[in-house]
Assembly symmetry: none
Homo-oligomer: 230 residues x 2
């Protein structure tokens, strides 16, 4: 399996502070970030840098995000690049949709950065499924998303579907602390309503499953914050 270059994201946002925050987080996620603060530059950079995905603010000087999106979706050579639109209010999403700009996803401000990351990854997976085929590893735990199998010290772990997804999420960023809300978002899905305590129970189940052959507990509880691996 070939080692793929880090995915390149073009971040188009005119507000410097917001752009900085996003850029920081995207880089932390392992993206190569290219930045632009207006639509014109964005179009140029798409041609020059061939990004894998574009995050595009709606309101911008010179060329609005809508216009940029429409132009990109018109040209065959750029049509395939996923575009996520950022918009200030929920009503605008409907309006943008109505304009048939062809954006692949919409995120409403104020958005959860984590959610935006998740959606970016989702879009990327859609176009570049080559992200699959990697083996997630943390200490003596190995996890193969493709074969849906998890091992600890060469032994196959028996995990329920939710435990598996939970472990995938945690292993994608070992050390990072996920709040219960974030985990509900990432593991259960954005819209479903379940009690946050449910996370505790499943973390418990995951712990038990991870230690079914002995070994130490790799899941760290961060009081008042959430859970993390290691």
């Amino acid at each position: 399996m070939a080692k793929t270059a880090p995915p390149r994201v073009l971040l188009v946002e005119d507000e410097p502070a917001q752009r900085a925050v996003l850029a920081y987080n995207l880089e932390a996620e392992g993206f190569d970030v290219i930045q632009a603060d207006n639509g014109e530059d964005a179009l140029l950079l798409v041609a020059e840098e061939a990004p894998d995905i574009i995050i595009l603010d709606w309101m911008m000087p010179k060329l609005s995000g809508i216009e940029v999106c429409r132009r990109l979706k018109m040209r065959p050579e750029t049509r395939g690049i996923p575009i996520i639109m950022l918009s200030a209010r929920a009503e605008e999403v409907d309006r943008i949709r109505g304009l048939e700009t062809g954006a692949d996803d919409y995120v409403v401000k104020p958005y959860s950065v984590l959610e935006l990351m998740a959606r970016a990854r989702a879009q990327l997976r859609r176009v570049r499924p080559s992200t699959a085929g990697v083996m997630l590893e943390y200490e003596d735990i190995r996890l193969d998303p493709e074969s849906h199998r998890a091992y600890r010290s060469e032994k196959v772990l028996k995990l329920g579907p939710t435990e598996f997804k939970l472990l995938v999420t945690l292993m994608e960023r070992p050390g990072r602390v996920f709040s219960r809300e974030q985990l509900l978002d990432l593991v259960w899905g954005r819209d479903i309503y379940v009690d946050t305590r449910t996370v505790d129970v499943h973390v418990g189940r995951l712990r038990k499953s991870l230690m079914q052959f002995g070994g130490t507990d790799p899941v760290r509880t961060v009081r008042g914050a959430g859970y993390a691996l290691g």
Copy 2:
């Protein structure tokens, strides 16, 4: 595992998304993929890269697939390379055929990816018989896609057509989990509408067929995800 170098396929398709999907699948199949998004580049790449097989979209900017095909089949040094043409509609196939482009095979969009892979392998076998006799193997199951026969421990298995395709799909990537939707896509074909539960039934039938002489069940059910071999 073959000791020969991986076969090189030149994929010529102007639509980036489709090209990405195909490239991914071809790579997963063990091909070395060279990509082009227009006819001119394609001709250059044929000279530079000497691919073993070419998959060529019909409609393309600059130089159409038909034209590329015709030129390649004119030159003696490239005539031997098998060409599979992709065309948007069934009627076009007749038309292309009428143009005597000399393509070796035609696949109509929307095609099943599995079907395209199978045809690519078939063409390849025709030219590079060293690859012939590719026998898919997993544990004591052997499967010859060409003679359409499957064995388990030297005994010939009796399989229905759908069971056979299902087994081919699973055996091409042992261990990988296929969702019901993916299997419908790969085995039944892209556009057909059948219930996903139908997959369950056929997996059941395949299981029974695989164990008609005894032995263990090689098909693994992954709850909430799909099925895999081993």
